[in-house]
Symmetry: C2
Subunit: 270 residues, 2 copies
Amino acid sequence: MSHADPRPLYQQLAAVLRDQIRAGELAPGARLPTEAVLSQTYDASRNTVRDAIDVLRREGLVESRQGRGAWVRQSRLAVVRKLPERYRWEKERARNDEGVRATTGATEHDTGLKVDDLVFTSTYDSSGATDELAELFGVPAGTQLLRRSYTTRYRDERAPLGVSQSYLVYAAVAGNPDLLDANNEPWPGGTLHQLSTVGIEVDHIVDEVSARPPSAEEMTALGLPEGTPVIATRKTSFDIHGRVVEVSDIVQAGDRAKIRFTSQLNRWET
Amino acid sequence: MSHADPRPLYQQLAAVLRDQIRAGELAPGARLPTEAVLSQTYDASRNTVRDAIDVLRREGLVESRQGRGAWVRQSRLAVVRKLPERYRWEKERARNDEGVRATTGATEHDTGLKVDDLVFTSTYDSSGATDELAELFGVPAGTQLLRRSYTTRYRDERAPLGVSQSYLVYAAVAGNPDLLDANNEPWPGGTLHQLSTVGIEVDHIVDEVSARPPSAEEMTALGLPEGTPVIATRKTSFDIHGRVVEVSDIVQAGDRAKIRFTSQLNRWET
DNA sequence: GAGTGGTCTAGACCACTGT
DNA sequence: CAGTGGTCTAGACCACTCC
């Protein structure tokens, strides 16, 4: 590489490879030269070559697999959450005929995929409210909550698209014992219909979206390649009296999730 | 470290430090032991210690500064974009008295900060529409577009909070020459008022949000610490005739931006 | 100048993948 | 088995910060 270039060697090498990828010389899916070859080609130690490839991995451009090699990453299919359309559709559907509800799910609405392509798993348990959740729900800390944990994944893949945990005040939903049993999932009509069975109508939902690096646990749980961030959404549902009735924390692989918000504006008076 | 543990040494060491951070033994802002000390303490080579710290850097838990040391990261102040409230407020404000408009800006609405705390810079130029933009605007590829580039930063900080590029069809806004000059920024009343001066009323805005690792360029431009993702938003504004009138690409540091979207639902009939 | 993290080397062995 | 990337070492020098 160049001695005039003030950047360290591994960054120069990363830039060379990055340029080749951007130019299409190394197309998505193409295999990179082996570390040994790069080491010889650019007269750098193998560790330096590895540092360069690390840079590209963290940028999400390259993925390597032990014993096999390194490849230019393909962009993956993303699931789009469309708000507020999705929630409006869910609420409408919660009041529809039961047969219709059973055949089609909320995630299908987002992805256009058939129900058969996706696998849900759910587990239920209960826990005392943390200070944070207690304040949101307006109940004393330690109040019993129903916690529902979900994962969604493509049938043909090991790693889930996302994991979520949903919290409800136990006493508020205990009026319908069916809601306390994970075996009733997936519930036809979804959460908005579940809540309607105990007399709760949701008025508005607030989604707070942020991006961050995955924790070590999330990285393995979601099967994230090095450098992929997660999109974390805190979803809070309010009933028609302004009370918080559900809180969900949703974590999705950043490269597989998009969120599309539509803001409808009022017309100016003419 | 332990020989029974199947994880590699650097991951074990990362886990030890991570646990100390989570437990608060290493509080936010606290300095980590030096690499030399860690190397001796855990009987690992300095490179292995560095690998462990790398893991924590990528998780956003640790930040190191050359010649000084490594610290547990403090969470930074985040800017919250509140939708659709912000757009509704902008549109309302676009029709208000000029004096009111000058004193308060859209970002202040989001952050609660005073105008003085934030610095905007803007540059204007024009470019031919790419295929992608041409299709969005419904014009032939190559049609002249006005491109406006913005950065926002805190007055006391070097690195910007975010950068954005906004595209308008040149011919559509040329009716008001003031709109073609960056010296008129910040425009009182914002973009929605700018558009109103050439007879355009915006009907709805679509924000498509995704998270990804920063490119090398974005990392330096935004001064991102290792491991921080960016939130990329494609904002598309439609006028009351359904035409696309503005397209913006907004890139924000992931640890400094949140988006809060409220979905208002229709009431069920009783 | 002493101490810190950043870069780089040469070489070793391991874990996993393919033939 | 050979070839690949993953881990680890010991040591060197550099760039930067602080005293």
